[in-house]
Amino acid sequence: MIRRIRRAVIAMVIGFLAAGGLASDGSRAAAASPQETIAGAARKVVKIHGAGGVRGLEAYQTGILVSPSGHIITVLSTVLDAEELDCVLDDGRRYRASLQGVDPQRELAVLAIEAEELPSFTLAAADPVPVGTRIFALSNLFGVAVGDERVSAQHGVVSALVPLEARRGSYEVPYRGAVYILDCTTNNPGSPGGAVVDWHGRLVGMLGKELRASGSGIWLNYAIPAEAIASSYAEIISGSTPSGTDSLGKEPTGPGFDPAALGLVLVPDLLDRTPPFIETVAADSPAARSGLRADDLVIAVGGRSVASRAALQQALSAVAEGDAVRLSVVRGGAIVECDLGPRPAAGRKR
């Protein structure tokens, strides 16, 4: 019964949005130049500043306005895991945003700012755009646009609509569904949450989080289709997905990595925060060849500090198979850097 009501609400919301979309599309019928299209769409894109700023984790991303009253959709990421979340509009106005809800499966989030009469995208329940559609991608890539500076515009083509099979580190992403593959280098820091529009300025999709294809390991240039965005938005604002910040910043669990595969034996994990001392190093292993020794204290993996035995385990698991493993250890009061070479396949779960 409850489920049926939910469905009805969702259908209503989508219907409402679709109607809005039609009305709005009608007004956009006149052909605009690419410059005008970009300028118009960029007004509906916001720069988001939140948590991060440490190595490898940007403190900024992009979002799109989907209601005149300040609803913003963006990707669910560690950037949102902040006490103070700022959204900067195209005209430079800065707002404190509140998290309205998240869709952990599609890894999307809805934010709200207190503003009225904002330019916004309409989330129409339209069919997917055909392959070959020319697009512009608008995003806060590399955080180069600040204040009233316009987000960056890139051009490209929709190359394919395919199921997403991708990973982040060694973890499979939870998203299940088709995504647009773009002939456009959109996989950049800060780009996630950016808008992909066609040459009429209609929303085609949203740039997703930085991912690599699970098969080839190459960085993916992809967008989550507008339909998925619309469904997610409808579910979040109707409260039909688990909301709150519980899932924020949590990497989905995947197969763990056994340090023994590198020839590394750590002290037993007995305490809450067992210091990651090396117990022994297996002879003729990557660890041994890198110069690691027993009693070294590991303090960082790839430049990111690890404070505990568990954190080390987690950090090693996050290194993608084939990527270089670099450990920083403390030995005799000095910091020693050790390169262990490419990470082997995930070992047995301990």
């Binding site: 690419p34 300028a39 070959g132 512009f136 204040g147 051009h155």
Partner: protein, 640 residues
């Protein structure tokens, strides 16, 4: 752009046969289209684009710096001047080899350097009819504009044929932080055309093939040093501001206001710190003043402030509008240098001042096999290596230079290539030179007329002295001694000294005057910033003579439009501005003589002089001259 916009039509026409073709297969689809199937307008647009790109390709320079790598450049004049990046030529030194699309290899010489802006000017030798790119007004560039780069990515152009990569303008007026104090990209263009290592220094062109910028930088990250669709180009308008200085063989510096700004809690850009020795302070700027505009451009963010400042050479005078307590004030400030001359020299010699600044690009990871080795330029990274030979005035021993380069290279401290300063100085000297002003005729000049207040004045200039009669009294300056001891008349900051050195410049030229060098192009009128096309720029000469420093601005017709004269380095200069034209009485004046003189000192207007008569006479002979009007004794409005 037209052609680009219409290409989907091509796809649709072939849809029957290729219903499921991916966009990635455009080339294959294209190959199956017979020319007859395509609308003539499409073919025409395509041909137009090809023509534009071929014209641009002809101006592309492949720069080879031997073991040190190389990069790209773009020709901007038939004489062979080409722009490139500082970081491209720095490893090469004074001489380099440059290939053009005509398949020929040319010797080239380093002319001017701007390490802060990452710009270098070189000159290709051996021709005077090089193909040259035309500058566009880069302030007109819009996000979404079609653009393309022509250059030498990965040093692929072993046959000197440039690679073309096309895209759109992704952003304008971007600010990219410097590495320490150099390689700052202010007010730059951001493009999604592929900019790879080796594209550095090459031209960025608009749809008409006009130069809108010089590519120099890209955001790379996790993928190593390959394009990720985010390249940056130094704007054509910034390049234009510095071009005069670069042509003059200078080691160019960027500007500072002597004040820093910050965003206040309510979002205004306010002065957060200011040096009391700065010109801005002397003109009245204070802490917490809100910056409204700089050099004619409104300033709403700290980045916007840095963007404007980063496009301006040191020494320029620019308008600054600020607000204090609701009152709007407009002042003209003289911008100071970011570096000392020694600091700049050290940077060029590869001894950068260590700084905490981010290098513009992450260090290059080990390249994939097949790349790397000699030929892949070090783009960005630390601008120099500490294990280079110790600096000297001679960055590259003359003996190793090719003869053609040796002939156009002269090393001098503070200059990149002093030979070109002499070339430019002499060019301006020829503009100024007027027959009949040299000795013995006209050895005494007498200018007379009225002040704006209506009272008369009389100025007498000769080799021995300068005399000015004003309603407030008569002042004399001994022209044979040091001029810095007597900044008279009182309150002018040195008007007589200014006129005396001006007379010597007009009569003798810059060579005998003293140490005179070419100082690039400066705005004729600082208040013309913000007008369409930017301020009108005029040549500038700077002289050190008789204890004073003087700067002369010279219009393209050779008319000296102004003199700034310092009697002490930290003092406010005496600012003399000349206007050409007929005398106040409507009579023609001798060539080169001003019809109006305005003198300012500090924040005060000293006087406005309307010249009615100029008499050029032989010193000691009061009866004649080459003016036929009444003698100098006939003073309007009464004499002394």
């Amino acid at each position: 752009m037209q052609g680009m916009a219409r290409s989907p039509t091509v796809l649709r026409r072939t849809a029957r046969v290729h219903a499921c073709c991916l966009a990635g297969l455009v080339a294959i689809v294209g190959a199956t289209v017979r020319a007859g199937d395509v609308a003539p307008a499409v073919l025409e647009a395509q041909q137009q684009r090809i023509d534009v790109m071929q014209r641009a390709a002809a101006t592309a320079v492949a720069i080879f710096a031997g073991e040190a790598g190389g990069g790209s450049g773009v020709l901007i004049s038939p004489a062979g001047y080409a722009l490139t990046n500082f970081h491209v030529v720095q490893p090469a030194g004074v001489a380099m080899k440059c290939g053009l699309a005509d398949g020929r290899l040319y010797d080239a010489v380093l002319v001017g350097l701007d390490p802060t802006g990452d710009v270098a000017l070189i000159k290709l030798l051996g021709r005077d009819d090089f193909p040259a790119a035309e500058f566009a007004d880069s302030d007109d560039v819009e996000v979404g504009d079609f653009c393309f780069a022509a250059g030498n990515p990965f040093l692929l152009a072993t046959d000197f044929q440039p690679s073309i990569s096309a895209g759109i303008v992704s952003g304008t007026r971007r600010y990219q932080f410097p590495a320490g104090t150099i390689l700052e990209y202010a007010d730059c263009l951001q493009v999604d055309a592929a900019i790879n290592p080796g594209n550095s220094g090459g031209g960025l062109f608009d749809a008409q093939g006009r130069l809108i910028g010089v590519n120099g930088r890209a955001s790379f990250e996790k993928r190593g040093r390959v394009n990720v669709g985010v390249g940056y180009a130094i704007s054509a308008n910034q390049l234009r501001n510095f071009l005069g200085l670069l042509k003059g063989g200078r080691l160019v510096d960027h500007a500072t206001l002597g004040a820093t700004v910050a965003t206040s809690a309510d979002g205004r850009v306010v002065v957060s710190d200011i040096l009391e020795s700065s010109d801005a302070w002397k003109r009245g700027l204070r802490y917490d003043d809100e910056i409204v505009s700089l050099a004619g451009r409104s300033v709403r963010t700290v980045n916007a402030f840095k963007n404007v400042l980063g496009t301006l050479p040191a020494g320029w005078q620019v308008p600054l509008v600020y607000r204090r307590g609701g009152r709007r004030e407009e002042i003209v400030v003289r911008l100071a240098s970011v570096h000392t001359a020694a600091e700049l020299s050290n940077i060029v010699d590869g001894k950068p001042k260590k700084s905490a600044g981010q290098p513009p690009l992450p260090p290059r990871p080990p390249g994939p096999p097949g790349h790397g080795g000699p030929g892949v330029p070090e783009e960005g990274g630390e601008p120099g290596n500490d294990d280079r030979p110790q600096s000297s005035d001679e960055p590259q021993p003359r003996a190793t230079l090719p003869d053609v380069v040796k002939a156009v290279y002269e090393s001098r401290r503070g200059f990149t290539n002093h030979h070109f300063n002499t070339v430019e100085r002499d060019r301006v000297a020829r503009l100024i030179a007027i027959e009949g002003l040299a000795a013995p005729q006209g050895s005494r000049w007498v200018l007379s007329g009225r002040l704006a207040t209506g009272e008369g004045f009389r100025i007498e200039l000769s080799d021995t002295e300068g005399v000015i009669d004003l309603p407030t009294g008569t002042t004399r300056v001994d022209a044979t001694g040091e001029l810095d001891t007597n900044p008279s008349p009182p309150g002018s900051g040195g008007m007589l000294a200014s006129l005396l050195v001006w007379r010597r410049l007009m009569r003798e030229g810059p060579e005998p005057l003293g140490r005179t060098s070419y100082g690039g192009m400066v705005p004729l009128d600082p208040r013309s910033f913000g007008e369409a096309g930017g301020p009108r720029l005029v040549d500038m000469l700077e002289s050190s003579v008789a204890g004073i420093e003087a700067r002369f601005t010279v219009g393209s017709d050779g008319f000296v439009t102004g003199i700034d004269l310092w009697t002490a380095p930290d003092a406010d200069p005496c600012e003399v501005r000349f206007t050409a034209g007929q005398s106040d009485r409507g009579e023609a004046l001798p060539p080169g003589m001003p019809a109006g003189i305005v003198v300012r000192h500090g924040n005060e207007l000293f006087g406005e002089f309307l010249v009615e008569q100029v008499v050029l006479e032989v010193a000691g002979d009061t009866s004649g001259g080459n003016a036929t009007a009444a003698g100098p004794q006939a003073l309007p409005g009464g004499g002394p």
